[in-house]
């Protein structure tokens, strides 16, 4: 427990000092603010630039959330994975863990502390982005009532935990930052491809990132999310468990 708490503190300071948190917080906040903004004004900007553009129907609050989910699950989480891709490789390449592990820092404390800090920062960034979109949407489309706004956001948040678990596993296996990121990208791609296959789609965690807007619009129901949620949490835990096991046998 000593080791976990000490390493947790070290990780938090490190992520402040190397600007990771600042950058990610700014990225999520910017996209949180920009999503409703783009949804509202993109048609106007386009028509101003190209006069003969066909104007579609007037944008609604749902469009803002569509932008939010597109941007956060795409750009936001990608930025997160890229920035955290070096979380183990920097320790491996310099050999900074050797001294601490030989001092009695349990190896799994390293993994759990790294995951905890990444999850805390992800949570802070994600909900900051959410609040930004929520406020701007409320301001731009006053009086619009949408259901399940929080629930839909909750599911994408869960996917964040899954991505981080896969990323950490990749980081433990591979010594290079780039390979770890590639591994994470590959697994995520496989999961989303499996989402297309019909019998699997109903259980696939990918549903948690693809049907959020449907949930708000009423095209999807909360019950559809139950199985993917359970499976997503299961994979998250298994990934983390694998990471600790593999890390135990890793030469530092």
């Amino acid at each position: 427990m000593n080791g976990y708490a000490a390493f947790l503190k070290k990780e938090l300071t490190e992520n402040m000092k190397n600007y990771r948190f600042l950058i990610l917080f700014a990225v999520f906040l910017i996209f949180g603010l920009a999503s409703p903004f783009l949804a509202k004004f993109m048609p106007e900007i386009l028509s101003a630039v190209a006069a003969d553009m066909q104007m579609g129907s007037a944008p609604v609050a749902l469009d803002a959330w569509e932008q939010f989910y597109k941007n956060i699950s795409g750009v936001g989480f990608s930025a997160f994975i890229i920035l955290f891709g070096s979380c183990m490789s920097s320790e491996y390449s310099k050999g900074t863990l050797v001294l601490l592990v030989t001092k009695g820092l349990p190896r799994r404390a390293v993994i759990f502390a790294k995951y905890t800090v990444a999850a805390i920062l992800m949570t802070a960034c994600y909900w900051a982005g959410f609040i930004a979109t929520y406020c701007y949407t409320a301001y731009l489309w006053p009086g619009t009532m949408l259901s399940h706004v929080f629930t839909a956001a909750f599911y994408l948040w869960l996917i964040g935990f899954l991505y981080l678990s896969i990323l950490l596993l990749g980081c433990v296996i591979f010594k290079q930052t780039f390979t770890s990121i590639l591994f994470t990208g590959g697994i995520v791609a496989v999961i989303s491809l499996l989402g297309i296959v019909d019998p699997l789609a109903r259980f696939n965690p990918f549903l948690l990132t693809s049907k959020n807007v449907d949930l708000i619009s009423g095209a999807a129901s909360v019950s559809e999310f139950l199985m993917p949620t359970v499976i997503s949490i299961a994979i998250t835990i298994i990934g983390l468990w694998f990471a600790t096991i593999l890390f135990d046998g890793k030469q530092l």
Binding site: L22, I30, L33, F37, K40, F41, Y136
Partner: protein
């Protein structure tokens, strides 16, 4: 056009965030004159001109080892 004018105040927080990132990155460029590639002038231009993308690029791939 009214709508475009209406949106300007809403843009301010986004621009402020972009500016904060640019300033933080620019200060880092000036205080840590070691880069993985490129030189001081190059990175200053990158972080100031390319909003959002510039500072991120700098912190992810441009920054050198801590001195």
């Amino acid at each position: 056009m009214d709508a475009l004018l209406e949106m300007l105040p809403l843009l301010i927080p986004i621009l402020v965030l972009d500016a904060v990132l640019a300033v933080v990155a620019a200060l880092h460029v000036l205080r840590h004159p070691h880069y993985r590639f490129g030189n001081k002038a190059f990175w200053l231009v990158v972080v100031v001109v390319f909003l959002l993308i510039g500072p991120i690029t700098y912190f992810v791939i441009g920054r050198g080892e801590e001195q």
